[in-house]
Amino acid sequence: MPAPSSRRPKSSKKFQSEGPNLLDLMEAAVKQAKTQATAETAAPAAEPHQDGSESDQFPSAASDRRGGGGRRETAESMAARQREISVSEFFTKNRHLLGFDNPQKALLTTIKEAVDNSLDACEEAGILPVLNVEIQQLAEDRFRIAVEDNGPGIVKAQIPKIFGKLLYGSKFHTLKQARGQQGIGISAAGMYGLLTTGKSIVVTSRTGTGKPAHHFEIQIDTRKNAPQVITDEVVEWETQHGTRVEIELIGTYKRGRHSVDDYVRQTAIANPHAEILYTFPGDEGVQHYPRATNVLPPEPRAIKPHPYGVELGALIKMMKETTARQLSAALRRDFSRVSSRVAEEICKAAELRPNANPHLIVVNEAERLFKAINSVKIMSPPTNCLSPIGEEQILSGLQKEVKANFFAAITRSPAVYRGNPFQVEVGIAYGGDLPSEELVDLLRFANRVPLQYQQSACAITKAVLGIDWRSYGLSQSKGALPMGPVVLFVHIASAWVPFTSESKEAIAAYPEIMRELRLALQECGRKLVLHIRAHRRAVDEEKKKSYIEKYIPHIGIALREILSLSEKSERDLVVTLKDVLERSRSREPLQE
């Protein structure tokens, strides 16, 4: 687990955080660039931070410099070179943090960000999504991708900011289930395209019939983290409402595991309410994923943060920014599940006056408050911020895309980890055309988005490995995924999915999450084993029947030869014996 960033007091380190908070990371980097003189001091922050050690690096780097021998620089000479780095600049150097590590992944991430946005927009507007996903190969390593939706469109003034400014979005400040979280993805993809091909991101959008369709070509000014509009015009567009994003980039198109093809297929499974037309390079060229249901997922409600999930730094910030004049009111108003009684209990435990001014809370008081929160019993957060796929929809998604003969799905009741509501769902497809001599095909999803990388680091994989699948009718070698004709679908829905890194590829293994995963997998496993047993029984019955048909005539032949029976006696014998065995057939288990 990464530790909180450097701007927080040391004491907060013992508390877990849900992944390196990018904002913090960047702020730290920016701050450092301001306080430190040289340009290369940004380098430590540029490392991929997986363990949270970054928080210690800044002070030590500073002290190293102070302790140096002969002065080569003066404060003034350094000041001449000190300037702000924008977050966009930061990311041009750290693109791997967002999933642009290599050309194959860059293509996938670009499409993924655009599709995430389209689906989120359609659902928020209550529109059944129709998506056009196109990959056009321009040269060996050069592609033009386009994602078009029938969503609500984007108002003209917002378009440049959404696509040309990092960390601009609607989802970061609300707590509810959504595919995107931070407002980085699509602008980062556009930036990647610009960086590798020099081409602008092209956006066409219309908000409704009778409204003009706006066509933009946007580049991101990485210095300022601000959009630069190259073209802004009204165009003829046949789409009634929706948005089309086009990005040209250097990438690699491959098929198979980790491919865009796989991503689109899995997206179709997890989003049976969406219709997707996928155009890709190669001879076949087009794949149509029809809609399997006309029911939109329930609309998730935004909730306020739950006290248990808040970190000390965030708590201090919330207290500073609250509109409430009294501490107890701030607690009540800005958090979910805090009643007056609970607020008073918290204040009492923190030895703070309920009517204290929250803006004047000092650090050690905030620490007391933080500890007090965790000592008071508070009701679990509301779960209407979640929008699970639902058992029926999982089944329809699987049935549509997987050729199997048995399907089962489980949606668990919502549960909570560190104040964040989450919900686990598992679907299973068995038999049919699926290969029986291979490891099960494990499909992982977070908020309906397929997770294709870092399988082994993910809580879902760990939970699957932690189950003895042999008791559910599958074979399994020690420490490996089970083997059998199975597609295993696992979905975690949460207002805040605890990813292990910003590229959102693996889910952190919180004990509460592991527990729910295990229970859901076991429940599905029980359904599976019932089917497998029943299926085996049916196969056995068939076999027994065929044994009788096959071998009894030979008993007739042998006895006729030995006893010189007439043909009629032989026939009688065979008929009688078949009848006797048929009657007792089902009572005898088949042995082989």
């Binding site: 044994y547 096959k550 071998y551 009894i552 008993i555 030995i562 014996l577 009848d579 007792s584 005898e588």
Partner: protein, 375 residues
Amino acid sequence: MAKKKASAAKLSEAASKAMLSAIHSSAEEIHRKIMARKKPTMKFPVRSLTNVRYHPQRGFFEIAGQKKERTLTVNTVKTFAQTLRMIALSKELIENDDIATKREAYYVSKNWEDARFSEQPESDTVMDDVEAFFEVNREQLGFIPEEKGGDIAGRLIVIDHDRDTGKVLRIDCTKFGSGAYSIPISVERIEFDTNASFILVIETAGMFQRLVKHNYWKKANCILVSMGGVPTRACRRFIRRLADFKKIPVYVFVDGDPYGITNIYRTLKVGSGNAAHLNEFFCVPQASFLGITPQDIVDYKLPTHPLKDVDIKRARDAIKNDPFIRHYQAWISAIEHLLKMGVRAEQQALAKHGLNYVIDTYLPEKLKHPERFLP
């Protein structure tokens, strides 16, 4: 002479008739049960070491009487059908005075469509079942083994008959030069003439060749028999009849390892667990163990190989489960000695002291004290 042949034919005709009627009545019983809407059953003696007893007075593994019952059910219908068809084949062979090897019987089954055997071991097992079911020798059912019976050289005249003329043939086993007489598949009608003082039964063809080449039989006035591994039924029967006929002792010379002791020697002497109903005829109770004993390995400072895992398992199994080994403390001690040393020695290991050390020193020394041979 003609009279003798006629009586032999008559004898076999009577045996055939008895066999045919046994087949007929068991088939009739099955037929009757089926028509009474009952599931027919066949009873077989359990064919394993757990179902044999050893009495030194009687001298062979006796079947202990455990039987397994095979009732015709969905699960057994295939084997049941195959067993009956095998019995029908046997009936046909006996009626036509014909024979079939195990391999031929397997090929005959290829005509049986769904009931055919896919591999010969399957048909061999069913044949063994049929043999045990009627508690007869498979030759009586018209089935003959393919395996070689064993080789003979030395002071023995085998008295056989010409198949066509019935004329007596006297086969002198001293006159095969560097070759040998082959034990036929059926030895019941063979007679003997010999004044040898013992029979030396040898495990390996290599050792047999050495003793033949140097006319060891002349020097020791004996009959040499090569078993070539675990002795076949014909080989055991041949040695038994020969030893009974002239009341001459049988000394066994095999490798000093668990296989030589518990498989080759034990099977020769008391028979096998697999065909226990036949052991009475296919055993040589008067046999004793000349070598190579575990003590020989020490006394003669023989070069050795370490015991393999299978050797160790075989030795432990024998001490634990083999009724013959368990009957003799001498054998238990010898095998434990072998296990403790953890080594085995082959017959040919004697060549360490010179190629003919076995002829000039080892065998003469051992034969001075037959009373010291292991039981």
